[in-house]
């Protein structure tokens, strides 16, 4: 039972990270600095939304197939309004009806979108994390997780390349763009430690040693920062809590906007 509980928790964690960053990035729709990059960031949003949907669909299928004992153990992760619906759980219920403290994403994706430098850097940090993690998850003994990772990795590769290039362009650009990028580094760094706290079940990702993942991530970031003339921060205090449901005040607002329709008109479709 422990393992099925871990499995659904990890699946929700992967889904939540993708969904919340997707929602944040989508705020740029119509507001990007230039048309091409407006399209780029919203394309990335769409990819992340698709990844979230795949993970949520799997989490819902897992739950629907659980024994009563397993369902009881998972109860605190399941959206309350759904319990009165009298039908099987689906991916939309998981995205649109869970409360803030049921979300298991990192704090970084939920932070307000900030300026373009902040958005770019967050995407880069996040894509670099996803890249190594999904590379490992492809080898997962869980066939569905492996398939979603395999599918998503191609998209993540693209996101990583795009965001890396923009970190370099802005960091190594004008005085203004450099200063903004350096500010973004200073603001975001304390949210990066959370990505390397052990959370993904070892059974799910056999080669996933968090220390190795972190080392690979740091190396990748350092290479790009060197190109971008950005200083690598010294490690310091790391803010955590997202994976245990303790979020910043920003998550409530993003959920209010995202979940409004489903909570006001339950089961609405269009």
């Amino acid at each position: 039972m422990q393992s099925t509980y871990q499995l659904i928790k990890c699946t929700l964690h992967l889904a939540d990270n993708a969904l919340i960053l997707s929602q944040r990035n989508s705020e740029w729709c119509g507001h990007g600095p230039v048309l091409e990059q407006d399209i780029a960031i919203t394309n990335i949003s769409l990819d992340l939304l698709g990844q979230a949907k795949n993970f949520y669909a799997y989490a819902a299928a897992l739950y629907n197939g659980f024994s009563d004992d397993e369902k009881n153990a998972t109860d605190h992760l399941i959206p309350r309004p759904w319990k009165n619906y009298g039908r099987e759980l689906n991916e939309d219920d998981l995205a649109f009806l869970r409360d803030e403290n049921q979300y298991l994403n990192f704090l970084m994706p939920e932070l307000p979108r900030g300026d373009w430098a902040f958005t770019i850097l967050r995407q880069f940090f996040f894509s670099a994390w996803q890249y190594d993690l999904y590379t490992n998850l492809i080898k997962s003994p869980d066939a569905t997780i492996a398939a979603i990772a395999d599918k998503s990795l191609k998209e993540v590769t693209y996101h990583l390349r795009w965001s890396s290039e923009w970190v370099i362009r802005l960091g190594d650009g004008t005085d203004e763009s450099h200063a903004r990028m350096q500010n973004a580094v200073d603001d975001l760094w304390m949210y990066t430690g959370e990505m390397f706290e052990p959370f993904i079940d070892e059974a799910l990702a056999p080669d996933s040693d968090t220390k190795l993942l972190q080392q690979s991530w740091v190396n990748r970031v350092k290479n790009i920062f060197d190109e971008a003339n950005l200083g690598m921060p010294v490690s310091g205090w790391m803010q955590t809590g997202g994976t245990s449901g303790r979020h910043t005040e920003h998550l409530g607002y993003i959920l209010a906007e995202m979940q409004y329709i489903q909570r006001t008109f339950p089961n609405a479709t269009w």
Partner: protein
């Protein structure tokens, strides 16, 4: 109807017919391509008068998948195949290498540069300069305007020779 007296169609023949019909189902976002050209139909299963078409999404968030599933069922219904299920699978992940040569020709005629063979640029290498051929004047003297375009599967290019902007169906 008594099943024992019913004429049993040859499964291989039925499958062949269905594959043929699917050539008439187009991608709603790139309407010159059929789902066969695109390479997203992975299998056709015929079992006990039930038909199942297995498709795979191009991108995780491709919003066209539900419409494609519906169009497949509608088209097969036109030909009398009523009990059709469309199943989506993620693995193995779709690649532009599965696009048919006919599909690539159709894209080019439509003004979209077809995907290069996969090995060219599908890595994390930065600022890579992928040579993409202009679908109008066939020049390789082209510049990428944006890695992302009007749909998830395309990026934006400009031809420095004929000065026309064009979509490139990016390798994936």
């Amino acid at each position: 109807m008594n099943k024992t007296t019913q004429h049993t169609p040859d499964p291989a023949l039925v499958k062949q017919q269905i594959w043929k019909i699917l050539e008439e189902v187009n991608d709603p976002e790139v309407p010159v391509l059929s789902v066969i050209d695109l390479g997203i139909v992975r299998d056709v299963v015929f079992n006990d008068y039930q038909y199942e078409v297995v498709i795979t999404p191009t991108y995780s968030g491709c919003p066209a998948m539900d419409i494609i599933s519906m169009n497949i069922r509608l088209k097969l219904m036109e030909y009398g195949y009523k009990d059709v299920k469309v199943k989506q699978v993620l693995s193995p992940a779709w690649t532009t290498d599965w696009m048919s040569e006919a599909g690539k020709e159709k894209l080019k005629a439509f003004g979209i540069a077809p995907p290069n063979p996969k090995q060219q640029v599908c890595s994390t290498a930065l600022f890579a300069d992928e040579s993409v051929q202009c679908p109008r004047c066939s020049s390789y003297n082209t510049t990428r305007i944006s890695e992302f375009g009007s749909t998830a599967c395309k990026s934006l290019y400009r031809c420095e020779n004929c000065k026309e902007p064009f979509d490139y169906f990016k390798c994936h």
